[in-house]
Symmetry: C3
Subunit: 356 residues, 3 copies
């Protein structure tokens, strides 16, 4: 059913207007998505705001830019986009700027399964999903009084680590609980170990799972605290923060790779039980912390392309095991859409709400 | 003093002697500069010392090696080099070993604008430049008594972070001020956040600015302090040091990329007002610290290729957005010189002191 | 004597069964070894256990998988493997699962020199080797009473940093010495500085040493301690551990590269004096810590491919200086075997125990 990569849409077809356009918001991982789409032969469209417009226009692989005042105005653009022959590839900024309802209302062809959004957006449901897949998750506390070890307080919907709070013990929590009353939050056991984010791609066309790359986040200010001698820190009384401003590459000990692969497979398997037959497909990421007994604790799952893949726009040590071209996760998505088109099975890679 | 150069078998077409030779000091980022020059079709010359001679001779892309006793003897070689058809690509070691006056006295074709050196060498002028470009710089203190927060003491002309000193408060400063009396220094607010070095290339031929890559420095001992438990650190009474011995790759959150790009453009724009019409061109780097409110604090600007680009001799995720070949910053420089030659505008990429 | 890379075993020869198979255990750095072997035209065999079997079968460059119950059962497979036309490329898991005696008993063609194993396995002999090569090694203490600074206690044969123990002073040592009685260990001065692992390849065919890549290990929990504010650490009373679960890329300041290269050459030179005429060849790694005076302290030598090279399956900034293809260390090994075959000197790259 799947054609080989050699059968690509001819470049001459580009001008005809008959080819699909891959569109995304100008943020998060848009550059690799659009570069990848271009490299696979698609037309590309970046929907930007006034501040990012210039940046995206400066890249030759961006065929078209539509600038809107603010990303949250995106829904106003939907009627126009629905008339065009395009496919949306969502990333983290979609989840940040569009509500679940808005997501589901859209009829634009959409790469991925929107049903997964419900299971991802709720921290409770997500926990059920991960646990059912046999993954180890950190302990969770219901009230401050229960806390018997350091915890990290995560606000619902907190993005890019903003609003995370490190709490030493229940007394510390009590003193600062006032900061939290406005927002729903969870109290998660603080796991001491090194973070690792594993980037997967599951192909619904071939049924194969691939490990595309890995990273760790680059967070301000926690990733700079260690540079300040302990004695000096005490005078400074620094509050740790976890705002993600970048990413750093990591490779995983090969003897742990089989388990990492298995975790990805389990998550996909369970998703087919809980999110409809299509389940989770395309790019996703499992965010882990590895403890000294080489145990993966799973903090979170992201059901689409994550920003850590931006390190690997020119391919990764892992992607190179599967592909001879520089295969970013963004390009892998475009490759999947192309393979779907070439095998006349576009519906397999799109959400069921899509009107093609 | 000068060792007879070992002329390597030249490739067909190359032997005519009509081609330009790209020359640089065997240090800092010479490998990527010479490899890049070779890949763009130039002849290459490494000027080394006795200790580094063997290393540079071992690479097939180095056509010629001239070994001198010490790098600071470079000026003795200038008359000989002025007779040849070559172009110097400077890097950090030029600034370290040659004075401003020596720089300006040379008539060898020189990639870059020497007028920028004055604005870069003076910490005061550099600060004016950055501020005028709208960048946020850390607070600076004139005297120890003024200090009301941790500061980092930077000696004038300190290279590779050597001689930087972390000072907790004005009392701490007083106690250790004796260490500083010999040298001119500045007292810079210690910004708590994660470092990010952004590598740019501005083409005077096309007027386009490119983000080539990014890194963070690998500094001993501060980047190892965090591995020592706080309790153990106290017994050790460790003095933090900031000696740069390497670099690590980082990617930036894409939503902050437009601002990073804008910072580069602003710095170039202002340079044209203060350093003559040519302004700053070629490779440069802005050294930032990113705070938890996602604010870039600019510590310093380097007006030429920086060592962090050595991570990307085979290209970077960013360079791959513009180029299909592995485009290091060193190769990008050679590409610009080649493009200048091909468009008969070599003077555009050379300092005005160059006698072609 | 050595043929150019263009002369490769023809792909059509693959089916004949006359080509050598490159075999290794499915762990550590097997993916790059087998991918590299495939890219150089060899057949490939992964010997896995039940848990890793699926992972290795999922890669198209793995031609054959033999699954055994446990890696330590490998010797049971040897009679079967000895009948085949294959070459074993060893990595760290061989040393972990097979004794020295088992290593030496094998007659399967084996890439590398087994005589090096004795000098590597004994921490005393290894120290002699490094010292004789002029490298700076950390101070070592014979008894707990001697300790006058922080030390790291390393168990004999400790793998992947497991069982390492940080000890502050002789009192701390006394209190915890009970944990150590069962196992032989050394007390090594704790050097404060940044770790750097340098990956070399020495070709016995050409006599050339190459720097292939560099990394730093990613260790749990020490590489996460710095993210916990000093004040919070005190409450937690965390015991540092050094279990290696991954690697991160680093580049070295170019002015220190000549010394790094020289260290590699010295180690090879001395190995020819102590381990027979063949000495150390193929891949090896020197594990250093760099102090603020830019001094390399050498912690250990690994006499074969190290896991840090897994970051560079698609090549490294250093390998790209020598090779235009993505040259992993695994592929470099296969290239050497191929060059040996093509120049009819296979014995040069195999241990003398090999029966070809």
């Amino acid at each position: 059913m799947i054609v080989t990569p050699e059968l690509r849409p001819a470049q001459i077809g580009r001008a005809s207007g008959d080819f699909y356009t891959i569109a995304t918001l100008g943020s998060h991982s848009a550059l690799q998505i659009l570069k990848g789409a271009h490299d696979e032969g698609f037309r590309t469209l970046a929907i930007t705001n006034r501040k990012t417009e210039r940046l995206y226009r400066s890249f030759p692989f961006v065929d078209e830019v539509i600038a809107i005042a603010e990303y949250k105005d995106f829904m106003g653009l939907v009627p126009e986009l629905e008339k065009r022959k395009l496919i949306i590839v969502p990333h983290g900024s979609f989840v940040a700027y569009l509500s679940l309802e808005e997501h589901k209302k859209m009829r634009i062809p959409y790469f991925g399964n929107k049903a997964v959004l419900d299971w991802e957006a709720s921290r409770e449901l997500q926990r059920q999903w991960l646990t059912r897949a046999g993954l180890t998750v950190p302990r969770q506390f219901k009230t401050g009084a229960e806390i018997d070890r350091p915890v990290i307080v995560k606000l619902y919907g907190a993005l890019g680590g903003k609003g995370y709070m490190f709490v030493r013990d229940s007394k510390d929590f009590e003193e600062r609980a006032g900061l939290l009353t406005r927002n729903k939050h969870i109290l998660q056991e603080y796991i001491i170990g090194v973070p690792l984010y594993i980037h997967y791609f599951y192909s619904p066309l071939t049924g194969r799972l691939e490990i595309m790359s890995m990273d760790r986040r680059y967070e301000t200010n926690v990733d700079s605290l260690g540079r300040i001698p302990a004695a000096a820190q005490e005078n400074l009384d620094i509050e740790p923060s976890y705002v993600v401003v970048g990413n750093q590459p990591v490779s995983l000990r090969e003897s742990m790779l089989a388990e990492a692969y298995q975790m990805g497979e389990n998550v996909v398997r369970v998703s087919k039980e809980i999110c409809g037959a299509k389940g989770l497909f395309g790019a996703f990421s499992i965010e882990t912390i590895i403890t000294p007994d080489a145990q993966f604790y799973v903090m979170e799952i992201s059901a689409r392309i994550v920003a850590g893949t931006n390190l690997f726009i020119d391919g990764s040590p892992y992607s190179y095991l599967y592909y001879t071209e520089p295969m970013s996760t963004g390009r892998r998505i475009a490759r999947e859409i192309k393979n779907a088109l070439l095998s006349n099975s576009l519906d397999v890679v799109l959400d069921d709400s899509s009107v093609v």
